[in-house]
Symmetry: C2
Subunit: 208 residues, 2 copies
């Protein structure tokens, strides 16, 4: 259990550290100084040290960080040392894309099921999974110890689906629907609002 | 041309305002006070007023904002009053999902083409588009006045593809590849790193 008080900004940067350290590990790099990492990642060495100090510092600075150790430790902080069991609600293009994204599986995010309300999609294969009807949702979540639900349906249905999975005890929702979900305070929601992201790009292009 | 000095945080909130105002407009709401909007959006009325003051304030506070006017004005700031012409590089699951996402078209983001290097995909239909070979990339960008390139390929190819499109004069990249792109300072990149987002959710689930 980590310290809850760590800022969202620091947390937001952890996956990026993890990604760079994974690449360095794959390239056979054994040690790296905060200076070298800072050049690679285009952030200041001081920010790296400050970020890492939130988690105890990860070893001597003068000598540099042990890449494998740092990678493993950040992975643990991110909860990647345990498998997560996910289902996707929505077997449209996006749901299918997410199901087939192999990177997630390598990180311990295991897609156990995919659901849709459309009779045209139910029974169809998506990668190794078969699309299930929404009626089986609650039983499936319980049987397969699902801990993360991915919502990949249009916004009209998203709020009621979120309610249903929260009632089943789900504490984490990865939300691609273009709506803000209302959930109890002990449920975490990570939103990926693709339209918002594209609008931000359009804004930046306009003021550039 | 807008003020370049407006903070990233404010810019990041604009699409969300735009989304709520669009919903209010669709519901026939004509005027809304910053107080009412703040309750709906779960932010403070003072933040709303401060955010809007970056753009001149959008009208009297006591009387409330004119919803349609505010929606149009924020749309203009976001560059949505002009059409954008996009291509997608990568006709895998994600590229296909993005192409078929009808919401983007409604906002003036028009997908003109989709490209892939795989001979198995070239010539296949994706929605109304036909997958084109990478050899045609540069000519297509010029012919169709493309202003935004979406990168939806694995990270190994993403950096060199970004170089190619930047050489063609592209100034905006929507990047789904799990890598940070190196581009000249006048090119804007909006990253959607899905793995990073999922890891952040995993972290929040761990510390919850």
């Amino acid at each position: 259990m980590q310290d809850k008080s760590i800022s969202q900004a620091v947390i937001g940067r952890l996956p990026r550290y993890y990604r760079y350290l994974g690449d360095l590990k794959d390239e056979g790099v054994e040690r790296i100084s905060s200076k070298e990492l800072s050049i690679l990642m285009k952030v200041t060495a001081s920010q790296i040290r400050q970020d890492f100090n939130n988690f105890g510092g990860f070893g001597q600075q003068g000598y540099g960080y042990n890449v494998s150790y740092l990678y493993e430790e950040i992975g643990k902080i991110l909860g990647l040392n345990e498998d997560h069991h996910l289902i996707i609600i929505g077997a449209g293009n996006l749901g299918r894309a997410l199901t087939n994204y192999s990177n997630f599986g390598n990180r311990g995010f295991i897609f156990e099921g995919i659901f849709d309300k459309s009779s045209e999609l139910i029974g169809k294969k998506v990668g190794l999974l078969t699309v299930k009807p929404m009626e089986e949702l609650e039983a499936f979540i319980e049987e397969h110890s699902i801990d993360i639900v991915v919502i990949a349906i249009p916004k009209t249905g998203a709020v009621s689906v979120a309610d249903r999975v929260v009632k089943c005890g789900i504490k984490a929702i990865w939300n691609f629907a273009h709506v803000d979900l209302l959930v109890p305070p002990d449920v975490v929601v990570e939103n990926v609002h693709l339209s918002d992201s594209l609008m931000k790009l359009s804004y930046m292009l306009t003021v550039r």
